[in-house]
Symmetry: C2
Subunit: 513 residues, 2 copies
């Protein structure tokens, strides 16, 4: 099942004007393929034990499915129902999971920003979900539409970002029942990359799919054969699939769009404290929900999501970027590959400010995600405070880390000239290579060029103000917003999108309780 | 050649009173074995190509050997000499390298702090070499004996530190010709862990070996069969082996003690800008020098060192924790394992302060070192400003990162109880696991407990002063010094060490030019 993804991008180096923020020299937009074999923290025996335990959980303990219609439909497929609990036979789970494709492509309104999902392709997402926002100029505040738009502008400007998550931050200043329309319209205007849609009920995702179809000049039926939309649903661990989530997932699957299924499994709180139990529960919840989707819409694109970290057992507070979280990010990849489905993971941290802790915890999680070969790496830029805050400085610091990962994991091919034997002979012993021809013809692109790191000596650094990385990041995101350029959008399509939103607002406004 | 290391440590959990700083709950002192397979950035073809290119460099370009006696000795072994350049045939290099042991054990005066060097054992070292020192209380200053001693106290107190490097910081306030005596006496008094010795000439390493023998109550002859001493020598890249370094290495090898051989290969400055060239040159310089040592002292313990990073091509400044540095740390491990010798690497950064950059660059280098399965990981705690500064806050931040690596890479065994099936059944759907028996009996040791990371919510964090990780680290190192306890030392041995230093100072003072 785990077939390689066929490359859809025309070339690694994309120089389209839309790709680059002119203020910041950065890596070109590219499809990122890891040249490293994934790291496997689980032995084959452990993997099999977790697999068996997961099937036992699904068969004997089951998952509470809150939607009565879905329970009835699953009963008709042969599942066992006890009150609201649905149990599935191991064979049924395996048969259903086998129907999921091992890879697929999501195409946004700018086709060069299409992303392959599967194989060794790694896509990095902007932070999504935080109720609050922070930057060092304006402080901490409730999530709002203006900040949402600025975060999307940064995500569009940064070439290392491949997709926007469900929502870059909450838009608490917009009406609850129509904010999905406003925020998607803004995203489709400010960005031409893949964006996730909110997963609250069938209506919202259907609205989203329609807007995404309009943006591409396609019908919903045409969108089926070239998916654009995706959403992430969380299983409410332990073992509850709520109606808003399942109906969003099934609606999107019915339209042939992608569903990412992510159990929210913090060890010690939503799962037992042990790694074996947490992984088994994550796996049970993910497989169960994949089976639900595949039983209703065989072959629909789905992604196996892992979000296993631990809590602080003294306070119950969630922790991220811990050794447990990093290991779970790798192990989740092993499990997803075992089932032949693409893998979603994350790069989170629990720091209260953009400091060393924010950086080292993010690196722990990110290395786990990359070495676990995550195909969709959520919260790649901007996550802070365990997800309570979207941080503007953190977006920049994380972009540096993502770019370094892209550079690190890219394939390195040597040719004879790369061995530089003549240069070594020319320079001799005890000399230096700064001025030789071999260097001069290669030095401009020889090494990764940072966007944030400062390698000045101490004297120069002090002369320039002795700024920390966080202080420098504040300069960069402001400059990036100042020089942001909106991607081209056909005025006729813009008009149709606006008209759709106006019409739906009227309909929803009339229906608002 | 790459045989497993036999475990010398009695148990993973060592509860000796000497191990723990009472002020800080930390992981127990332990021999760290990585349960992960190493990451291999080089294909087998690339590895072979680098191997062949290295032998060509040694055979055709050679290495400048500044010591006339050594040149004569190498000529007698069949090497070709042109002026000061020594060339070796590929067969000679391979034969000599094959004489090096694949693993060995270093035993300090406290035998429970012995370290195995080889296989999958990872030993972390305190920062070594910086000319200056920094902490946020007292600022930046020239390296001095008082700070040197405090850094050793921290290295002794931190259970994640296995060895002290050549010198934790410079001791610029001590007389040049005798500071090796003062600093080693201080290290042997303040610490009972493995310590490296300065590699400047045969005399200093012989003094060091004698003091280390005294500290263990052994003769130099007895020390041969149970080595304690080690030193790191740098090849002065490109391709110069100076007399101070070679004579230190050969003196120590003649005493059966360990020599770590580390070419200092910053790409773009000391090597061509290309990765293939830099690795080939690193490999040539390391193999050449290992061959030198083995040809004179067959079977002497040696370690293959890698220190390949890049410079900023705009300024020439060294950069660390770059993608190139991280990849080189992994590739160096592949090469060392190919030759069946233990591997030394590093965890460096180039930041000017203990900020996010310091943390993410260190993580990049550290992950490379750990995934490359470094047996001796130098500069594991305290390195800042590209090695110009030993930072007290960075010691603490790095200790957190090292502990997380120890926790991450330790083997995870599952038993039936770990799957927590009964707890899942008991808690049911939608509940939480905080109070159940399965949690209560395991929660105290379930997760890694940080020494620096703060997982408070924003309100609590602000109430506690809203301190960054660096500000919290400043509190921790001061508390650690306040509660530091000197390890026990037999007064008779202390007396002998003092007498040795007094005698040697008199001798050296008389000989001082």
């Amino acid at each position: 099942m785990n077939s390689p993804v066929s490359p859809r991008r025309r070339s690694r180096r994309n120089t389209a004007a839309q790709d680059t923020s002119p203020s910041l020299p950065q890596l070109p937009y590219q499809q990122v393929r890891s040249s490293f074999a994934p790291v496997a923290p689980l032995s084959e025996d452990q993997l099999q034990a977790i697999h068996r335990q997961s099937l036992k959980i699904i068969a004997e303990l089951g998952v509470k499915v809150l939607c009565p219609d879905l329970r009835r439909a699953l009963k008709a497929k042969g599942c066992t129902i006890r009150d609201e609990i649905v149990c599935m036979d191991p064979g049924f789970v395996e048969d259903m999971v086998a129907k999921a494709p091992s890879s697929f492509t999501l195409t946004p309104r700018y086709p060069d920003h299409a992303i392959a999902v599967g194989g060794n392709v790694m896509n990095f997402g902007l932070v999504s979900g935080p109720p609050s926002v922070h930057d060092t100029i304006n402080g901490r505040r409730s999530g709002n539409f203006a900040d949402f738009k600025n975060l999307i502008r940064l995500g569009q400007s940064l070439n290392c970002i491949h997709f926007m998550g469900n929502q870059a931050c909450a838009t608490n200043d917009l009406a609850v029942n129509t904010r999905h329309l406003d925020s998607l319209l803004a995203t489709l205007t400010l960005s031409d990359k893949i964006t996730s849609t909110m997963s609250i009920g069938a209506g919202r995702v259907r609205d989203a799919a329609q807007m995404l179809a309009i943006a591409r000049g396609l019908t919903l039926d045409e969108l089926k054969s070239s998916p654009t939309a995706m959403t992430n649903i969380n299983v409410n661990s332990p073992r509850v699939l709520d109606k808003e989530m399942s109906s969003a997932a099934l609606e999107l699957a019915s339209l042939g769009q992608a569903v990412i299924i992510t159990p929210f499994t913090l060890m010690g709180a939503m799962t037992p404290v042990t790694f074996a139990a947490a992984l088994s529960q994550q796996n049970a919840e993910a497989l169960f929900t994949i089976a639900v989707v595949q039983s209703m819409h065989p072959g629909a694109p789905v992604v196996y999501g892992g979000f296993t970290s631990n809590v602080d057992m003294k306070s119950g507070a969630p922790a991220f970027g811990t050794p447990e979280n990093s290991r779970a990010n790798m192990a989740g990849g092993q499990l997803a590959r075992h089932y032949g489905v693409p893998y979603r993971t994350s790069a989170c941290n629990a720091s209260n400010c953009v400091d060393g802790q924010a950086a080292y915890e993010t690196q722990m999680a990110l290395w786990g995600a990359v070495m676990g070969q995550g195909n969709m790496i959520y919260h790649g830029a901007g996550w802070l405070e365990g997800g309570l805050v979207a941080s503007f400085e953190k977006v920049i610091m994380d972009a540096e880390m993502l770019q370094m990962m892209i550079s690190l994991t890219s394939a390195q091919n040597f040719d004879d000239g790369d061995f530089g034997f003549e240069a070594m002979d020319e320079v001799g012993t005890g000399g230096h290579f700064f001025g030789c021809d071999h260097t001069m013809s290669r030095y401009k692109s020889a090494f990764y060029a940072p966007i944030l790191s400062d390698w000045s000596n101490n004297e120069s650094w002090l002369e320039q103000g002795g700024k920390t990385a966080t202080e420098r990041a504040a300069v960069i995101w402001q400059e990036m917003l100042r020089t942001y350029r909106e991607p081209a959008l056909d005025p006729a399509i813009a008009e149709q999108l606006n008209a759709f939103v106006i019409r739906r607002k009227l309909e929803l406004g009339a229906n608002e309780p």
